[in-house]
Every structure is written in structure tokens, then in C-alpha cells.
């Protein structure tokens, strides 16, 4: 593993060309299916249900033909957050548990004038574990969506899905454009971050000596990175505005698409599969 190789860890916002069924789906169907599966992933509230949801998401990744290891590596950057989230939830969530589920472990601790209570109940334990599984499922699902869809086609999908709401003044085209621009620059900013860290390291900056969890020290070290990164982002934004204005961009008003793709059978089939999956997750009486 190279010291400054960040682009490798960022899987969200990348696109990997391929010819799997997921690559070929209409973006509208893909977005619709994504939202439907997402609903199942974040609402199921049992150990088994979550495990099934995670397994299904991994199944979708395998279906996309993108190496599972690569998609899983997208989870790595958020491991510190996950660890902290887990520790806090595990220790403190049970203190505020209104459901009255059985207490597994309780500990009082007095440090000087302060008193701490740690409680773990069956319910808080479940929520902690589920939280982690859900976040991992979410990242995998989002990654596979962007890994198999180009930004333009995703933006087109959003625009088409929002088109019926134009009557109630939802600016579908503008929302899609904002989304596309934001997404377009994720890899650019990641590249720039890597370049800046290398440049500052080449003039004496020292990254990586404090451990992964020494946040204050890390934050101070990041000033030489964040300042140029923001300066660069603003400069790029201004250039983009100039480029759009000089081509008379006025938003979606009066613009017509060159082609109106129709949903194919596989698009309807995948939507139906997503819907069936979510209904199943909701209606199976998962034990505990």
C-alpha cells in the first residue's frame, strides 16, 4: 500500500465500465430499484433481516461483475467513524432505552465529581450491531449504483424521474445538473488532495505520524492541505460558471432531449424484483 494512494480507497463516485445487466439497465429503473432496496435495508429491524439485506446487497455487487474486494475496499475509509459510533452506542445507548428490554450489563463509574453510567440492554445491543450492518450495506449499495452508471446517465435518470413534478414547480433539470456537477468533481478533488499531500510532504510536511485516532493533531496537520484545496475548489467553480455562461446556459427551460429512451422489459423486471424483495423483507416475521 503506497503512502499517498487515496484514489484507490474512494469507490463512491468512480465508474467502472462493464456490460453486466446492472450496467445496461435504464438509469430510471436503476434509481427506482435503488430507492426501493434502500427502504428495505434501512427499515428492517432484526438481526436476521439485516443479515439477509446485507447478503442481498453483496449479491447485487456480484451481479454487477465488479470485483467484490474492490467494492468492499470503499468501506475502509470510514472504519474509524464506525468504530467510534459502535463504542459510544454500545456503552451509552442502553442508558436511554425506553423499551424496558432486559439489561445485559450495567456499570457505574465515578471520576472525581462526574458520574458515568454504562448500560447495555438487549435492545441497545441490537441497534448497535444493526447500525454498523446498515451503514456497510448503504455504502455497498451506493457504490454499486455509481460504479455501474455514468454521471450523465444518472443525471438524465434523475431529470426524467423528476419531470412529472414540474407542474408543482420542482426544478428537475436544475436538481439533476447540481447533482451531476457535485458528483463529477468527487474524483477530481480526490486527485487534487493526493497531489497536495504529496506536494506538502515534499516540502517538509509530515502526515501519518499520529495514529488514525489522534484527531486534533491530524486536523492541525491538514491546514496546508485544506486551504489550497478550498482555494482550488472556488477557482474551479468560477471557471465552470464562466464556461456555462459563455455557452448561454439558462437551465432546463426550453431544452428538449435528443432521444426519449423507453423502459425495456429488463428494466420493469428489475423494478419488480426490487419491489418483491422489499415487500418480502417487510412481511417475513423475522425472529427477534
Amino acid at each position: 500500500m503506497d503512502e499517498f494512494d487515496f484514489a484507490r480507497g474512494v469507490t463512491v463516485g468512480q465508474y467502472v465500465p462493464g456490460s453486466s445487466i446492472l450496467h445496461r439497465l435504464d438509469p430510471r429503473a436503476k434509481l427506482g430499484g435503488f430507492v426501493i432496496v434502500l427502504a428495505a435495508v434501512i427499515t428492517t429491524s432484526s438481526y436476521l433481516g439485516n443479515a439477509v439485506a446485507l447478503a442481498s446487497v453483496i449479491g447485487i455487487v456480484i451481479l454487477s461483475g465488479i470485483p467484490l474486494g474492490y467494492v468492499l475496499s470503499g468501506v475502509r475509509p470510514i472504519i474509524p467513524i464506525l468504530v467510534i459510533f459502535t463504542i459510544f452506542n454500545f456503552l451509552f445507548l442502553g442508558n436511554y432505552d425506553p423499551t424496558g428490554s432486559p439489561v445485559i450489563w450495567r456499570q457505574q463509574l465515578a471520576v472525581g465529581p462526574y458520574e458515568f453510567a454504562f448500560t447495555v440492554t438487549e435492545n441497545s445491543m441490537k441497534q448497535t450491531v444493526q447500525g454498523v450492518v446498515r451503514i456497510i450495506s448503504l455504502i455497498l449499495l451506493t457504490s454499486v449504483l455509481t460504479l455501474t452508471t455514468t454521471i450523465t446517465s444518472l443525471a438524465k435518470g434523475i431529470e426524467l424521474l423528476l419531470a412529472p413534478f414540474r407542474r408543482i414547480k420542482v426544478p428537475g433539470h436544475e436538481i439533476a445538473m447540481v447533482f451531476a456537477i457535485a458528483y463529477r468533481f468527487v474524483p477530481t478533488v480526490a486527485d487534487e488532495l493526493e497531489r497536495l499531500m504529496k506536494a506538502q510532504a515534499s516540502r517538509g510536511a509530515d502526515f501519518g505520524r499520529p495514529g488514525r485516532f489522534q484527531f486534533a493533531k491530524r486536523a492541525r496537520q491538514l491546514v496546508p492541505i485544506t486551504v489550497p484545496l478550498f482555494v482550488g475548489a472556488f477557482r474551479r467553480a468560477e471557471r465552470l460558471i464562466m464556461a456555462m455562461e459563455s455557452r448561454c446556459y439558462v437551465g432546463g427551460a426550453g431544452r428538449t432531449p435528443i432521444s426519449l429512451p423507453r423502459l425495456a422489459l429488463r428494466d420493469w423486471a428489475s423494478l419488480a424484483a426490487a419491489l418483491a424483495f422489499t415487500l418480502a423483507i417487510w412481511n417475513v416475521p423475522w425472529p427477534a
Binding site: 484514489a7 484507490r8 516540502r203 517538509g204 509530515d206 489550497p228
Partner: protein, 289 residues
């Protein structure tokens, strides 16, 4: 007395290794740098120049092959590259974008402060570095960094690297985007750094006129491999090979080449306008006489 300070042998490197987006950037590159060298590294876009130079201070580590810099083997994963980064200063493309401190002096002082130098030492290093790039210490040290011109900002960034007092300075496309005056100033600063401060200098460039003007020796990369190296005159005399690699040649060499094709007697290795004029002059006078 010159000694070899950098020795790169059969170097391989891939970007995004282990992902579906993996691309091989270097396939067996070679490079040697002596302590009194003034080198240009040339190659078409995507030839692996930037990847190669990032190995010289351990920003990247070899995936295959060996990189030895100041006697240290960068293939050794346990080797801490940070001390090496003081000895090898790399100035990236568009280095003015890496400035972050509101005042010029503080920005240049970043490196020495990271090295925990005493305040007097920091001051001395900043002063020397600024003078070497042609920025007056008193005139510029308290100026607002982001209010400088592009050429001045680039010199501030260069000073920020020089303040580490490296023995080898590597510059990636140092003149890209500068106006002719900024370019001339930068090149004369680099020449002085090499001649007076005794720093070995490597420039990565595909501006052939800059290469001809500054470098003594040239290494040429193509598709991740070293395909030519030699003195700047030798390299620019090999016009057809350079064209095949989609590299240009300096305008003067180009003109000399055309004149030779048109039947005039011009040596193959002219590099400057003066040399060409001289050659044409002696030629025509000898014919007249």
C-alpha cells in the same frame, strides 16, 4: 568530484493497483543522476515522467525494480522516506496552488519549521531561499501571498522547497503557464542554483526550447520505458527518432534540420540562435571566399 546520487533500474509502477481501474505507468524505466547534473526528463504526455520523479523522494515506492537515492534503497518498505524528502526537493506542476499561508515569509518558513529549526535558522533559510529565487527578503516577506502575480507565486513555492536546503531539486513542468519574462527569470534562477549553490537539478518538461536552453543531459521516456539518454546535443541531433516519439525539437534545431535538408551545410547539433547564426555565417563567408 561528482558521484552518482540517484540510480533507478528497471522500475515498474502501476496506478490504482489491485482495482479494476489499474493502469501501468512505468515498465522498466532507468535513470541515473550525478551530484553535479543538470538534467531534463522528456516524454510525451502519459510517458510516466511524473510517476518516475515521485519515486525520487519516496512519495511512491517501486512495485518492481530498484530505486537508490543517496545510497538508500527505496524498495525497502521499512525505510522511512521522510529524511530523504529534505535532501530531494520536488516542485510539483503549478506549485503556486500549494501555497496556504497568508504571508510569503510564513509560507516559505513552513518547511524549516517542520524540521524544528531555531527561529534564527528559519529566518536564515527563508532569506537565502528567497534571494535564490530573486525575491527580495525585506520587500516580499510580509506580502500577502494570494495577491502576488502567477510568476511570483511560483517563485515563492520554489523557495518553499529550497528552504529545506535539498541537494537535488526536481521540478515538474516548471515553466508551464508562465509568460516569457517569468520563464526567463525562473530559468536563470535555476541555472544559478546549479552553478552557485551546487544543487543537482532535474526538470521534467516537454517544452523543447526550455530543455535546450537549460539542460546538459537528457533522458527520454516513452510508454514507461527509458528510450534514449545522452547529452542535450546528442539527443536533439536525433530528430527523426524524436519525431517518432511524438516529441518536438527546439525551434533552432528544427530550422537547422530544414536548412540541412535544403542543402546548406549546418552541423546537426546546433542548439542556440547564436550557434546557428555563427554556422551560417562561416559557411557563407567560406563559400564567398
Amino acid at each position: 568530484m561528482s558521484e552518482t546520487i540517484v540510480e533507478v533500474r528497471d522500475l515498474w509502477h502501476s496506478h490504482l493497483r489491485g482495482t479494476p481501474l489499474e493502469t501501468v505507468a512505468l515498465r522498466g524505466a532507468e535513470l541515473q543522476i550525478a551530484s553535479d547534473d543538470l538534467i531534463a526528463l522528456m516524454g510525451h504526455t502519459g510517458s510516466g515522467k511524473s510517476t518516475l520523479v515521485q519515486h525520487l523522494n519516496g512519495l511512491l515506492r517501486p512495485h518492481q525494480g530498484s530505486v537508490k537515492v543517496f545510497g538508500q534503497d527505496l524498495g525497502d518498505r521499512k525505510l522511512d522516506a521522510r529524511p530523504l524528502r529534505q535532501m530531494v526537493g520536488i516542485v510539483f506542476q503549478q506549485p503556486e496552488q500549494q501555497l496556504f499561508d497568508p504571508t510569503v515569509g510564513d509560507d516559505i518558513a513552513f518547511g524549516p519549521r517542520q524540521l524544528r529549526c531555531t527561529p534564527e535558522e528559519v529566518r536564515r533559510r527563508v532569506r537565502t531561499a528567497m534571494e535564490r529565487v530573486g525575491l527580495g527578503f525585506e520587500a516580499f516577506k510580509d506580502r500577502y501571498t494570494f495577491g502576488l502575480s502567477g510568476g511570483e507565486m511560483r517563485r515563492v513555492a520554489l523557495a518553499g522547497v529550497l528552504a529545506l536546503e535539498p541537494r537535488l531539486l526536481v521540478l515538474d513542468e516548471p515553466t508551464a503557464g508562465l509568460d516569457p519574462r517569468g520563464r526567463a527569470q525562473l530559468l536563470s534562477s535555476l541555472r544559478a542554483l546549479h552553478a552557485d549553490a551546487g544543487i543537482a537539478v532535474v526538470i521534467v518538461s516537454h517544452d523543447m526550447d526550455v530543455v535546450a536552453e537549460l539542460a546538459r543531459r537528457v533522458w527520454v521516456l516513452a510508454e514507461g520505458r527509458t528510450v534514449m539518454h545522452g547529452s542535450v546535443r546528442e539527443i536533439f541531433a536525433r530528430v527523426d527518432e524524436l519525431r517518432e516519439l511524438r516529441l518536438g525539437i527546439p525551434q533552432v534545431s528544427e530550422l537547422a534540420h530544414e536548412l540541412r535538408k535544403a542543402g546548406r551545410q549546418v552541423p546537426a547539433d546546433v542548439l542556440t540562435v547564436d550557434e546557428l547564426a555563427e554556422a551560417l555565417w562561416t559557411n557563407s563567408t567560406s563559400r564567398a571566399g
